[in-house]
Symmetry: C2
Subunit: 314 residues, 2 copies
C-alpha cells in the first residue's frame, strides 16, 4: 500500500463558458467536480494502475465532505483524511469553449491551527506501519502550517524505515530536501528556484548534494532528467504531445512511485513516468490518463543513460 | 409573515483577486459565501427591516446544505425550502482589487424533475395559510421547470386570496403577467423585451393591459416608475449614487413588499423602495444596505404624481 499526503486538498471544479471576458457576466454551460490536490491526483492514477493507495491530509467543511464522498466512490483508494475546522479549498478552472484555453482561480485553503497540525502528525505516524511501502508528500502547504512541515514528515517516514518522495516548491521544498528524502520531483522552474541554476543537469546534481537521494526533474516536452545513486538518465517522449498538461506532473509521480514499489530498475521507472505523463496530456479529461495511449507510448520512450552527453540545454 | 419563493436558489461566492486576466492562474486573496437567488436576497432585506419572512424554493446537494446552514443563522428568516436531488447552483463574482470591477460566473442550477416540481407545488399551496400576508416570486427558473411555472404559482396565490408580486424576465415573465399578479417589477430591459417598447411609461401601461394589476419598473439611476390602479408615479433618488448595483433591484422589491403589508400609500412604498435600493448601491458589501444611508435618503426621494409629465425619456 502506498500512502499519499495532500495537506492542501481541494475540490477541483471545471466550468465551461463560451469565452471568458473580464467584467462580463457568463452562463456556465457545464460544471464538473472532482477531488483535487496533487496527492489525491497521484492516488487516482496509482489506483488506475492497480495499486492500493491510502490518502491522508486535511479535510473540512462542505467542500471537504464532497471530496470525501467522491473518494468513497473511487475503487482502490482508502480515505484517511484528518478533519480540520476550516473548509477545504476550491480551485476553479474556467475553460473557453472556443479555444480550450483555461483561466484558473485558486482559493488559499483553510488556516490550520497548531492543535490540528499536531493531530495530523500523530495520525500520520500511526499510519506508517509495515503495510505502507512508500510515502508521497505532494503539493503546497495550507495557511498556518510551519514552512518545515514536509521536512518533519520526511524525518518521521525515515525513522519508520519507509521510503519517501517529495513534490512541492519554494521554501517547503528547500527545507524538505535538507531532511534527506529518497526522491524529489521538481519541475524546471522549481529546480532553478531551489538551486539558482538554469542548467537542469547541474541543478539536479546540486539538489542531490543538498540532501535528496535521487532527483527526478520534469522538463515538460523534454521529459524527465534523473540524477540517482545508481546513475543519471534522461527519458524523453517519442514526439511533442499536444493537449492539456494539467496533472501530467502528478501522473509522472504516480509512475515513479509504482515503478519503485515494483522494484523496477530506474530506466523502466522513468519510461513509465514519461509515458503516463504524456498519456495524461493526450487525454480529453484534464488529469486523467488515456490507457491505450499509455500502453502504446510505453515502448517508445527513449531513455539514455549518459545524461551529461544526451542532455542538450534548451 | 411574507413568503418569498426562489426556485433557483444559489450559493453566492465572492472572490477577490488582484486583476482577472483570461488564461492566467490567480490566487484568490479572500472568499466570502452567502445565500443567494433573488428571493433569498429580498428575504434578508425584509428581515433587516423587522419583518418576519418565510423562504421557499429548492435546495439540494452540498451547496444547498451550506445555504440552509447560513439561513438558520439569519434572524427573522424561516427556512421552508423543498429538497431536490440535484445540487443548488453556485454563482461566482470575481472582484478585481485594483478597480473593483466584477466578473460573474453563474452555474445553471439543478435540473428539477416533474415529480420534484409537483412536490414543490403541494408544499407551496400548504404554506399559503392565513398567516401569509404577501408572496414574492423571484428570479430565473432552474432547468426542467415549465416556462409557465410562475403563472401557476400566481393562480394558486390568487385562489388563496394572497397578494403576489412577480420579479422575473423573458417568457416566465410574459406568462406570469397573463396570470394577473398584483405587482410585477421588471427593469428597463425586461420591460422593453416584454412589450417591444423602449418608452418606460408606455411599456408599463402596456404591461398593465396584459394582466398585471400594478407595474413598478426599476430604471437604474432614474429610480422607479409605477403604473397602478391608484395612479402613476415616478420616484427618483436625490443624486446619482456611486457604488455596486448588485442586489439593488432585490432591495427595491423588499421595499415595495414591506410598504404593501404595512398598507402605506403608493408614494411612500416607492420612496422606501428607492431609498433602500440606493442604500444598497452605497453599501460596501454587495447586496447589503447601509441603514444610516437608507434613513437619510428616505426623506430625500422625490415622488411625482403625474408621471406622464414628470417622466423624461433618457
Amino acid at each position: 500500500m502506498i500512502l499519499t499526503v495532500t495537506l492542501n486538498t481541494a475540490l477541483d471544479i471545471t466550468y465551461r463558458v463560451r469565452e471568458l471576458r473580464p467584467h462580463a457576466s457568463h452562463r456556465v454551460s457545464e460544471v464538473t467536480e472532482r477531488p483535487g490536490g496533487k496527492g489525491l491526483n497521484v492516488a487516482r492514477v496509482l489506483a488506475a494502475l492497480g495499486h492500493e493507495v491510502m490518502v491522508t491530509g486535511f479535510t473540512g467543511g462542505a467542500t471537504g465532505r464532497v471530496v470525501q464522498d467522491q473518494l468513497t466512490d473511487t475503487p482502490g483508494v482508502l480515505d484517511a483524511l484528518v478533519p480540520v475546522a476550516g473548509a477545504t479549498r476550491r480551485t476553479i478552472a474556467v475553460v473557453d469553449e472556443l479555444t480550450g484555453d483555461t483561466t484558473q482561480l485558486n482559493e488559499p485553503g483553510p488556516t490550520v491551527t497548531s492543535a490540528e497540525w499536531r493531530a495530523f502528525q500523530e495520525a500520520y505516524e500511526s499510519l506508517l506501519t509495515g503495510e505502507i511501502s512508500a510515502v508521497a508528500l505532494c503539493g503546497s502547504l495550507p495557511p498556518g502550517l510551519p514552512v518545515g512541515a514536509y521536512a518533519g514528515l520526511i524525518r518521521t517516514a525515515r525513522t519508520a524505515g519507509i521510503p519517501v518522495l517529495l513534490d512541492t516548491s519554494g521554501e517547503p521544498l528547500r527545507r524538505g530536501v535538507a531532511a534527506r528524502p529518497d526522491i524529489v520531483k521538481p519541475n524546471a522552474e522549481e529546480l532553478a528556484e531551489l538551486t539558482g541554476s538554469q542548467d537542469p543537469l547541474r541543478a539536479t546534481q546540486a539538489t542531490r548534494r543538498r540532501g535528496a537521494r535521487a532527483v527526478v526533474a520534469s522538463l515538460g516536452a523534454q521529459g524527465l532528467l534523473a540524477a540517482t545513486p545508481e546513475g543519471t538518465w534522461h527519458a524523453t517522449p517519442p514526439a511533442r504531445i499536444p493537449g492539456n498538461p494539467t496533472g501530467a506532473g502528478d501522473s509522472a509521480v504516480a509512475g515513479l512511485l509504482s515503478g519503485w514499489v515494483e522494484r523496477l530498475p530506474w530506466p523502466d521507472r522513468l519510461a513509465r513516468a514519461v509515458a503516463l505523463s504524456a498519456a495524461t496530456v493526450l487525454s480529453p479529461v484534464a488529469g486523467e490518463f488515456d490507457r491505450a495511449a499509455y500502453e502504446e507510448l510505453l515502448g517508445r520512450v527513449a531513455v539514455t543513460g549518459d545524461a551529461s552527453a544526451a542532455w542538450v540545454s534548451p
